[in-house]
């Protein structure tokens, strides 16, 4: 009854083209963003920042990147982790090899390097698609895993193979405490999410979706598949590169190639599938689901066991965690193949009419 657009008349195409054409949506999203910036820092303890919120923000950014490529342009990738790694190591090298390189500039440059690498590894998409393309991007994953492990130049000849970054600073603001890291990541995520939304609702996004939905028809109306696909790879890899740099710099502090292994690639792909392909909102849902659920299960299962007088060992909890997690993924894919974002929009459609049946 509250969620309804009655009386909100659009008198211009500009008003109709807004990101959130319904006023209630607009206010709700503004409120959530404001709460994330202003409210959460006062409410949350350090553990929650470190264990949940910061990983969530960074992985949401990465999922956004994967979604632009997989969800919007329809090019499946299993190399997401590799592009994160490229971003992280490129940013690291910019930071240590160039004197006075600002941290933010290094992170963004890392993104650009990842974009270039993304274009190179996106070239097979011009000839193959679907599972075959997945195999080709898998090659990127294995190649970069190997390169960062074996070519010591990338790690500045670190003997252990692990690199670390300290003293993060942005324009004189030193980013040490979890709360500062959180705000830094949140700011970047909000900015990049807005940019992604704009891209997907303008000509570029339509070209990507056209290629995804019907590539022959797209070509016939003048879309060049090469340009559309490679630009999707570039933008997606840029997002992944920035996310990778943040993961290394801000979340981990010191890391080795295993941080960006094939597991990460799968995790990101699952986020997009579960959250909702071709939906910006879906990337957030997916990241939240995958980051929060295991931690939630980890806390909840022993408590549930205790309730029925059953003691579950730590190993048992982690086994059960995997099983429940897997079952939930299967359940979601069967009940709603278009992901949580679709559930969400169906819910909103229903709510617009509620409590009337039509």
């Amino acid at each position: 009854m509250i969620y309804r657009e009655n009386g909100q008349f659009k008198t211009s195409y500009a008003a109709d083209q807004q990101i959130f054409p319904i006023a209630q949506d607009r206010w709700a999203v503004l409120a959530i963003v404001a709460f994330a910036f202003v409210g959460i820092p006062f409410l949350v303890d350090e553990y929650l920042f470190r264990a949940i919120l910061i990983p969530f923000l960074i992985l949401a950014l990465a999922a956004l990147g994967v979604n632009l490529l997989v969800g919007y342009c329809g090019q499946i990738t299993l190399g997401a982790g590799a592009f994160m790694a490229v971003g992280a190591y490129a940013a690291y090298n910019f930071l240590i090899r160039i004197d006075g390189m600002p941290m933010l500039a290094a992170i963004l440059l890392g993104g650009f390097v990842a974009a270039v690498v993304g274009i190179v590894f996106g070239i097979p998409s011009l000839r193959v698609r679907g599972l075959y393309l997945a195999m080709a991007t898998l090659a990127a994953q294995f190649f970069w895993d190997w390169a960062f492990l074996r070519i010591s130049w990338f790690t500045n000849n670190a003997p252990s193979g692990s690199v670390s970054v300290s003293n993060l600073e942005l324009l004189g603001w030193s980013i040490d405490a979890p709360i500062e890291k959180y705000l830094f990541c949140l700011g970047l995520l909000a900015l990049f999410a807005l940019l992604a939304k704009n891209m997907t609702r303008s000509a570029m996004g339509r070209q990507w979706m056209a290629i995804r939905d019907m590539d022959v028809a797209a070509e016939v109306i003048g879309i060049r598949p090469m340009f559309a696909k490679l630009s999707a790879f570039a933008v997606s890899s840029f997002y992944l590169g920035v996310a990778g740099a943040l993961w290394g710099f801000v979340h981990l502090g010191s890391w080795e190639p295993a941080a960006f292994s094939i597991d990460r690639s799968f995790q990101l792909l699952f986020m997009v599938i579960i959250g909702g392909m071709g939906s910006i909102m879906g990337s957030f849902f997916g990241a939240a689901f995958i980051v929060v659920l295991p931690i939630f299960l980890n806390q909840f299962l022993p408590w549930l066991g205790g309730l029925v007088g059953l003691h579950i060992s730590t190993a048992g909890v982690s086994h059960a965690e995997f099983m429940i997690f897997g079952a939930l993924i299967v359940f979601f894919l069967i009940v709603e193949p278009h992901g949580i974002a679709r559930l969400w929009s169906t819910g909103k459609e229903k709510l617009r009419l509620w409590p009337f049946p039509h």
Binding site: Y13, A14, Q17, L195, A196, N198, M199, S202, A203, M204, R206, Q207, M209, A210, R212, D213, M214, V216, A217, A218, E219, V220, I221, G222, I223, R224, S231, V235, G278
Partner: protein
């Protein structure tokens, strides 16, 4: 009132084969400006292949496409689109995940010049273009009488309306030549009447040259100025609807011959 002009599109000696299968053999015909040119023939005659050659989806082994005096040995879809050739599809080829507006907006992609960065910040040229082209798209939506479904994802629309959106997407390119591949397949009588009206209006109001493939002979004979008849990849007839109707070879191809 439209007046049929000079030859705008000339096809000379087109031969196309896939491996050993000959789809088209030495076909030549021309299309004049502002006319409605029909291509007919039994199933498998090579009609759709012909359209695919015109807009560069297929590359013929022999022959050339001459568009407004420019010779194209190898046409490709991008150049064809740039040169003002649009087409609709026999089997629906809409962008299923997108709304009607977005489908038609995509048809205007060649006219949008803002770069990716301007689009990402939705500022200046990008924002202006979105508005200007939206206004154009709304004109097309009005013309095709699909205002009520403008925000519906096309996957949810009934078949007849999807065909109309397909036409809308092609019209959004403001084409000079419009290739229609069985625009009325699978429609009922009213839908066929609507579609015929749209085709005639497009031809009449915008002066668009139309190349039409259709199986409904009534429609073909009523709409078209000249008809070319294909059978097994060869041209067996060419001329006005009346000439074609009385051509013994055409009758043989359609009705079979008594031996």
């Amino acid at each position: 009132m439209r007046e049929i002009g000079d030859v705008i599109l000339d096809l000379r000696g087109i031969s196309l084969s896939f491996g050993g299968v000959k789809a088209l053999t030495d076909i030549s015909f021309d299309v004049r400006e502002h006319e409605v040119r029909a291509i007919i023939g039994p199933n498998g005659a090579g009609k759709s292949s012909m359209l695919n050659v015109i807009n560069g989806v297929y590359r013929p082994q022999q022959g050339e496409v001459i568009l407004r005096g420019d010779h194209f040995k190898r046409m490709d879809p991008y150049r064809a689109a740039k040169a003002g050739i649009a087409r609709t599809f026999q089997s629906l080829a809409l962008f299923k995940g997108m709304s009607v507006i977005d489908n038609i907006m995509t048809g205007r992609n060649l006219k949008m010049k803002a770069n990716l960065f301007q689009q990402a910040v939705w500022w200046g040229m990008a924002a202006r273009e979105e508005l200007a082209h939206r206004a154009k798209v709304e004109e097309i939506i009005d013309f095709l009488e699909i205002q009520h479904i403008r925000k519906t994802p096309v996957g949810r629309l009934p078949y007849g309306l999807q065909k109309r959106v397909d036409l809308g997407r092609a019209l959004a390119m403001e084409p000079q030549i419009l290739l229609l591949d069985e625009p009325m397949a699978g429609m009922n009588v009213e839908e066929k009447q609507d579609m015929s009206r749209f085709i005639l209006d497009v031809n009449d109001q915008f002066g668009t040259t139309i190349v039409l493939i259709e199986h409904d002979m009534g429609v073909v004979m009523d709409l078209s100025d000249r008809v070319v008849v294909l059978d097994y990849g060869r041209k067996i007839g060419d001329g006005s609807p009346d000439e074609v109707r009385t051509n013994p070879e055409v009758i043989k191809a359609y009705l079979g011959a008594s031996h």
